[in-house]
Amino acid sequence: MVEPILIQAVLVPIILSPVAYFLGKRYGSKSAWFTFVVLLYSTLLLLYAASHSLPPEQYSFFPQSLAGSPLLSSIGIVGFYLDGISLPFALTIYIICTAVALYSVPYMKHRIFEQEGMVTEVVTASPNSKQPQQSESIMPNKTGAVTVTETGEARYAEPTENQRTNERFALYFALYLLYSAGMMGTVLSTNLIELYFFFEFMLIPSYFLIAEFGYGARGRISLMYLLWTHIGALLMLLGFLTIGTVTSTFVFNPPPAGAVTALAAATGLIPWIVFAIIVGLFVKLAAPPLHIWLPYAHAEAPTPISALLSPAMIGIGGYIVIRILTLLLPTAYQDIDMGIAVWGLITMYYGGLMALAQDDIKRLFAYSSISQMGYIIFGIGTATSLGVSGAAFQFVSHGTAKAVLFMIAGLIIVRAGGLRSIKQMGGLSTKLPICAVCATIAFLGLLGFPETNGFQSEWLIFAGGLQRAALGGSSGQIWLVISILAVLSTALTSVYALWTMKRVFFGKLPEHLSKVSEGSAYMLAPIIFLAALTILLGVFPGLIDGPLFHTVAGLPITLPNLP
């Protein structure tokens, strides 16, 4: 008898999301605690499952009456499995979701009040810039809660929540739960159709979250986000359907007997399957030139959602690539590994270079995410157990670090009246010391600094590449070159990371930021928690490495392992 642990972790948030809605209508922002508890419960379930190394859970969705048709009945087999590869992904997703749930309280208060016209955006005119920096749709000052002093600063008394704002909170937290569970379902699923189901399932709530609470041309941007990710998903679906047709089943984990051989025999279809899956998922991973939706979506999403999109969601593409390629298409995987690696390399550099050209802090982080996805792609491309494990670990390290960074960006937005332009920041470390420390940790995590988890993942990835070089063969030299180039891209990461640190936190504090303060523990606690996690996993990488390698070493594919 299988313990229904993982299915709970996925379904409980979905089932309780209407409850979150009704609680939200009643209690407004306080209902965040409900969301928090639900997600915490699910996270604990995951931890329980991880510590007991439970077998795959399988639930038959279609009873056996379709037994005459294995393919059709396999559509209905819903499996949840937490193994070493899904563990880092799953835990990262839920831990970030749980932490960000609390962070959402002050942020969404700010955003919703702003949207409801209860707070006028602080006009952050700096003496240097001619045009005052304003974000869109400054509503007329309806409640009079804001007084603008003669220096152009706005001080606002915290408006009180009312029925209208409560409804907004309710919507936010209900969608938030759905979104979190969608991501989780994708990572835990063992069936291609189930995987696609959840992959799309997370799209709609996130679309609404961006569209409802986002900034700028949020309608257009959320639509762009939806369409891009949707076409990626559909492409992936094409690949999945073809796989299902060839193997007569959609269950992929553990791969059913004969599936791999059947697939390998379908030589004519393999290129198409691989193309569909890789390209479809690289849209999610935002590998150039399929990345263009990402900077917009991440920049204009409400910041807590950015903190889920970037650290948690886009990397799931990498997870699926690892899963499908290693479990179902091992030979094809080894044929295209270098192509993937080179694409990853391009992604690293492209994202990093574009990050250098940004002024909007959230856009900068978005491009940085693209660059970081390049590491994941490169790690997958090395097709070694080191590289693949590194890619999975990189999801964790990027997740914790980028979540911290986005949350800090959000904190600045809340505290400095919607300020996002880096040009108008500076010297904030005197006003936001804790944030400065946490941002430093997060940036160090991004640039692969030892003692943060970023290093632990990146060295695995690079070691994977160099291991390919060491294996020799005709491509050994090329692997050597691209691996060195990959390591070199961390210099680029350092450049944009430190330059951003300098521009945001160091230097002279501009006049308009003199009233900024760090504020509520709702915001700081998640930031500190994740920053601490960044360091903890850097010092004790075995927490991730152990189960990860255990699974990777046991993958039914001959990845070059260390002897």
Binding site: L356, A357, G427, P450, G542
Partner: protein, 700 residues
Amino acid sequence: MAFSLSSCSDLIPNLVWMVPIIGGALSVLAAGFGDRARNYVAIATGFVTALTATLLLLLPEFTTYTLGGGIWDITHVCGVQETWISTPLFTIQAGVLVDPLTAVLALTVSWVSFLILVYSLGYMKGERNLTRYYFLMNFFIGNMLLIVMSDNFLLLFLGWEGVGYCSYALIGFWHSDEMKYWVGTHGETTAGVPEAYSPTNAGMKAFIMTRIGDIAFLVGILLIFAYAHTFDFYKLVQNTSWASDLAASGLLVPAAILIFGGAVGKSAQFPLHEWLPDAMAGPTSVSALIHAATMVNAGVFLVGTVGPIFLIASASLGTGVMFPFFATVAAIGAFTALLAASQAMVHDEVKKVLAYSTVSQIGYMMLGLGVAGLSAPADFSIGFTAGFFHLISQALFKAGLFMCAGWLIHVTESKYASQMGGLRKELKITFIAMMIVALSLAGFPPLSGFWSKDAILGAALQAGGISTIFYIVGIVTALMTAFYSIRLIGIIFAGKKSENIENLEAKGHHIHEAPGTMWVPYVILAGATLVIGILAPIFLQQSLGSLFSKYLANLGVVSPYSFNLGSEALSLSIGFGISVLGIFIAYLAYIRRSISPVAVVNSSPVIYGFYHFFLHRWYINAFYYKVIVYPISRGTTWIFRNFEQKVIEPVNIGAPEFGSDVSGLLRRIQTGIEEEYLFAFGIGIALLIIIFFLFGYVTI
């Protein structure tokens, strides 16, 4: 087995690097009880660290250990390992390693650090954010000791980057970038590149530049890992099959040079040396600790660690396999020594002069280690010992110099030597202490600098061959070194008071001696350089030499220490002569002031040209900015505007537009006229028939 590795109690070795890190954290907690508590905790941490490092020598596992007769005899290394990362594919054991190299460096680092912490008490008094300062200082010390104590590359890299971060954070300690903290002179440019850097900018520059070296280092160790599947130093020595595999791929020497790249970055060697002068934007105590005495020497330590490993590992591949590596080390060391010394001769900013001097002196150390590898295998330990002796000696006198400079800058409120002058009466203690350390730098007997520098030069001379060129470069550099050390002393202490000082005194600022917390540390260091100098003949040969040679013998590089003062008389006398010559020229120009430096510089366009060339840092800094920094920063914006926004983004606009166009076209069919709908119906029938006839199976 060529060596023995005994296990030892893991408490003391681990404490050595843990104490400062824990103490740093404690000092943050102690800040809650007031500044005083925090300062004391921080300094006490430094002291305990120094004590634990000293305790290393008392470890019972060091089987034969006597301090009698000035002889150390540590023949054994000991290490303890814990499993750090355990996976089914590989296990990374990590732990500490105590060998003579470790012990000597741990001692130097911890005691100098302690002195600098004490100095900070006075120097940083009244500054804000000192919690951060003390935490980072202690964290730095911990990481530095981790580098020294670690027994594998991965753990070493942890400390390696840790000190890099501390350096970054401490250079940028005054992160609000007020003008007074900038390094360099405002408005001065080299080929259009500004020469002045804000502290945060300098920190960033330091971090990124050293990181480029670190990347090479990381590639190097990962390459070794790819073949050896271990990071462990002793495992690498134990089983050397990896070296032949690497050599078979032609990667042995490249891997070694890549690892040396890390040392180049961290130790500010050419071509990654440009960050160190700008790193002087940090507090002087930081410069003294990180950018003179400890961190910058980590590169030397690294070469000292990997050099023997590579030598042993490649032993079976025939001699001379590692020649390119050691030649690179020596050449870069020699060239850097000359490069930096030439710049030190002309600069006016006290700390920058000292920074160039540091770069130059580390060049010497690299030269020593390189020469060790170039000489006959039996003579390996000569250069090796010389390099590390110079490391210790430089740590002492350079830290002393910086600390003195720190007080001078504080009391004169100027960072320029030319704005000091005639201070010898007011600042007697500082004057004497600084004189001693400067003479040590100048290589004046019997100070430690004299012995250590000449040990390196002697080793180069003895190695012969290509090393003779390095020897000559070293001698030229020695002349420059002697000149600029005394030049600095002369400008600061001799002659009349400058306008700046007079203005200050007119304003009521009294030029006074440093408080005890400040002068005691640098006086101690001056004393140490003197004492070691006097004891050097014994110290060098009997203690350090025998220690290292036994250590190396234990590793497998068999070479009884044969350095002999008597047989090196030639080298010593040349060294002495050069030193005196340099001191004399500087004396004439800056103390007696019988030669006008300005007149000399202007006397010939060649000299003037050189002067400017040196002053503009050989245009290397400007070159980097023009060729790398500016193109990247402009290039990314260009790519963003012209590729990202003009080529890729239009897809977002173009695709929907395409859809709309198609949509409009299709909608135009829908005219609203029933007639045409029926017509379309007819066309549909025709279309179906055409399809059937063209593609159908049913034959007509």
